[in-house]
């Protein structure tokens, strides 16, 4: 009996050996919170919860699988992965579907958003490239990295999907930053953006995107139109108070005042029902995840592992800040989900897969004293 138990325990340990338990714990806590809020936001329906739970299961499986791969092997495959991820990105321009453009490919069983792949493959590719160069990167190195980042970003912009393009681009930029990109580049980039902004306003941005920016600047200017979402979301958040209205008692969500309350605006539901306390607990969990990623990265064996883990962790944090800032009227409306809270499959799976890579780095860290 004990032999069987011991054997099972041994098996379990061997199976979970590559998983970083602190990171996994924080992620599971976030998933539980996410499912709980989703249960309430979805009108006490378990069907949404089960669907999301299934996606979490797929994501956790992907995380587990990737965590078992040695980073070296991942690094060797990186150019192929990157190349392969560009194919659906091109394809979606022709056969994609979506409300404001071509974002999803209908795979019959589920909708697949190719840009999500880039959230993982792009930082890996940039890290792969920079790892082969002397660091801090030289001018030509930065230019080539910029092409690696810019090409898929431009393709996503063409869909058009400003939010994802920005996140994908930023995840690449984080790699450059962590690789020691000289500071003057940031100044130059900032200047370039400032210079390009007027041009973008007139030629690049779609009317709905302009609306979002105008709405952000003054949401009360059109309280029943474009500003409605933000006003109602702020009312939900503000109405929550310190401890919230209680689970399932958020009136703004249940009476449909909050738009998209299971997806982009789910954090407003959390804020209304669990109050500031719930917000801080959730943000603390996110902070822990980011910090753990950076910690693992700093202890990594090689440059590639370092850069990938660090960039993925920082990108994770960008989601939180952009989404949390957007629904509270701090930032303009950008279609970015709240990691592990927002209902939606591809984002959760790609996120967990990315953290699987980070766990692989942790699992294959150098032994102390090396």
């Amino acid at each position: 009996m004990t032999i069987i138990l011991r054997w099972l325990l041994d098996l379990l340990v061997r199976f979970t050996r590559t998983l970083d338990l602190p990171l996994l714990g924080a992620l599971l806590a976030l998933m539980v919170i996410g499912l709980a809020v989703l249960y309430s936001a979805g009108g006490q329906s378990t069907s949404l919860v089960f669907a999301q739970g299934a996606r979490f299961a797929v994501g956790l499986a992907a995380m587990w699988g990737l965590s078992r791969l040695p980073p070296n092997q991942l690094r060797n495959w990186t150019p192929w992965i990157y190349g392969a991820s560009l194919v659906p990105l091109l394809a979606v321009l022709f056969i994609g579907e979506g409300r404001h453009g071509a974002h999803w490919i209908n795979l019959g069983v589920f909708y697949f958003q190719p840009s999500e792949l880039l959230k993982l493959s792009l930082p890996m590719m940039v890290a792969w490239y920079l790892n082969r160069q002397a660091l801090p990167p030289r001018f030509s190195t930065v230019l080539i990295a910029a092409v690696l980042i810019g090409a898929p970003t431009a393709l996503i912009l063409l869909q058009p999907d400003f939010g994802t393009a920005m996140l994908v681009g930023i995840s690449g930029a984080f790699v450059l930053y962590l690789a020691g990109l000289p500071w003057w580049w940031f100044g130059a980039a900032l200047g370039a953006v400032a210079a390009a902004a007027p041009a973008a306003w007139f030629w690049l941005l779609r009317p709905y995107q302009k609306d979002r920016i105008l709405t952000f600047l003054d949401p009360e200017s059109d309280p029943l139109g474009a500003g409605w979402n933000i006003i109602q979301s702020k009312i939900a958040i503000g109405g929550g108070g310190m401890t919230g209205k209680g689970w399932g008692d958020g009136t703004q969500a249940h009476l449909n005042y909050i738009p998209e309350h299971t997806t982009d605006f789910i954090f407003a539901v959390l804020s209304e029902e669990f109050g500031w306390v719930g917000v801080v607990v959730t943000l603390a969990l996110y902070l822990f995840v980011v910090g753990r990623c950076l910690w693992i990265a700093a202890a990594a064996r090689d440059g590639f592992s370092r850069l990938v883990s660090g960039a993925l962790g920082l990108a994770f944090c960008v989601y939180v800040i952009v989404n949390g800032g957007m629904i509270a009227g701090m930032l303009p409306v950008v279609g970015v989900p709240m990691p592990l809270l927002s209902y939606g499959g591809t984002a959760a799976v790609s996120l967990l897969a990315g953290l699987g890579v980070v766990m692989a780095v942790r699992a294959h860290r150098p032994v102390h004293g090396h």
Partner: protein, 640 residues
Amino acid sequence: MRTRRLLKNSAAEAEQFRRRAALAFLGVVVALAGLAFWYFRLQVWQHEDYVTRSEQNRIKLRPVVPGRGLIYDREGRILADNVPAFRLEVTPNEAGDPERWLPSLARVVELSPEEIETFLETRRVTPGFKPIPLKMRIEPDEVSRFAVDQWRYPGIEIVPYLNRRYLHGPLFAHVVGYVGRVDAQDVETMGEGNAAFSHTGKTGLERSYEEALRGQVGYEKVETNVDGRPMGVVGRVPAVPGADLRLSIDLDLQRAMVAAFGEKEGSAVAVDPRTGQVLAMVSLPSYDTNLFVNGISHADYNALTENPSRPLFNRNVLGGGPPGSTVKPMVGLAGLDSGLRDADDTTLSTGEFRIPGQARGYRDSHRGGHGMVDLRESIAQSVNTYYYKLALEMGIDAFAGYMARYGFGERTGIDLAGENAGVVPSRDYKRSISTEPWYPGETVISGIGQGYWVATALQLVRATAAIANGGDLHPLRLVEARRDGYQAPWQPLPQRTASRITDNPEHLRAVHEGMVATVHGPRGTARATGAGAPYKIAGKTGTSQRSSRKGNISSDPRSLPYHLRHTGLFVGYAPAEAPTIAVAVVIEHGGYGGTAAAPIARAAFDAWLLGKMPEGMDDTGADAEGAGEAPAASAPEATP
């Protein structure tokens, strides 16, 4: 490639990474702390503000319309109640252009051109977010047909409400009246707080007791979702149901009197002489008040307004005309009270009366005259000369004063709007309509209820009741009691003070004897009326000219074309010694009072005193429209 890789400094790169990562983590901490601070500002500092807005978002006030008070007859039989019904309401903002949905909707629910027209008119003057009734009282099968197709008509809804029903529509059209849809004018008079009412009293008691009957709108605090759809009630200010009214009207008596009218037109009122409470009030022809509740069709309305007999005209309240000889008991009483006559004083009737020095003759109904008559005989035989002479001696000013004391020329206090005060002939009145001076001849004919006289059946019955009850002139009233709520006890309406018509019971006694002789005396003008009655009747006939300035008073009315014939009148009470009922009957184009009007009074007495209903009528109340439907209690509210 190889050379470049050799240039890599792993330790330095790792060190560089750690610095950047530490910096980035610091940035992350700052950013998340900023976010947490921003949320703190919204959730803690501005919490009150957002909670208020959140409440405003979800809580809407919804008016609760109380059930309108019911109207009962004196025995508690329902005359007006409310039945649950459904109406179709359109919210223009949500429904959009009527051209898009109206044609297809008309195939699901039957819509008349008037309903569509009314809706389109209302739509022009109503704010678009306010629902407008398109069709009232839709049939159950239309409700179910529409329910199936409802998804195709956003902004169009079936709304339950309580529909007013008059169980005896035509029988009480001029008593109970009717409610109608609230129009723009009503909205102004009713005020903002009553905007939720869809109907308001337009005529009759429904109008004069509107405030009591309608009750008070309550409010429900309703939690609504973003589409305004109610999700639940979170608080309420209950509606105050309308007060129920109990009339002194007796359904059976009313029915008996209407039946006694047959095809005749005119009005009749029966009161309890002891209280002034109205027992029956008839104005014929009549109409079905149920037609008006939800808007009458053009065809029906035109049929009513183009009818030369004017069924919509409330003859008791708005009508009136010369009372003719029915005022003789009152003029006789004035003669006694003024001291000009004793009851036994006699006057010679020669068949014609002349004012000294004038050529014009004023005739009696008998060509040869009635001979010497005292007060009693002058009433019984309706001797004009007695009154010509009396009025002339009294003078018009004293005459007008006495008539005013008997309630003529003033409202009877009946609880219906727009009562005609009538006219007592007087110098003042003539001055108001003419520049000519008052002529003595006008005084003469005033004495027999002709000339400028305008009296209503209500005034006649009131004065008659005063003679019957020993001199108390009671204000008339239809409503006997009210109760505020189904469980509450009936509260009698406070009795209003009566005035005295005379201080001398002997005078009344003499007049009374004359009136008894009218019916039971050997030469009484209404002898036929009293035949076979197991009780004694006191009464007075009258015949007034319709075309008073043309022809001669004594010309036979039956020789004239029908519409020009005289009006026949009768006033009376019974049982003569202890009266419990007084009536006044006015038959238009009816010839003599004794033959046209008096039989109706007899029918009323028989019904009231003997419980005898006219032939061909049962007393089960089977003429109620839709008698199968159960009446709604007064308590339920219009919106469940």
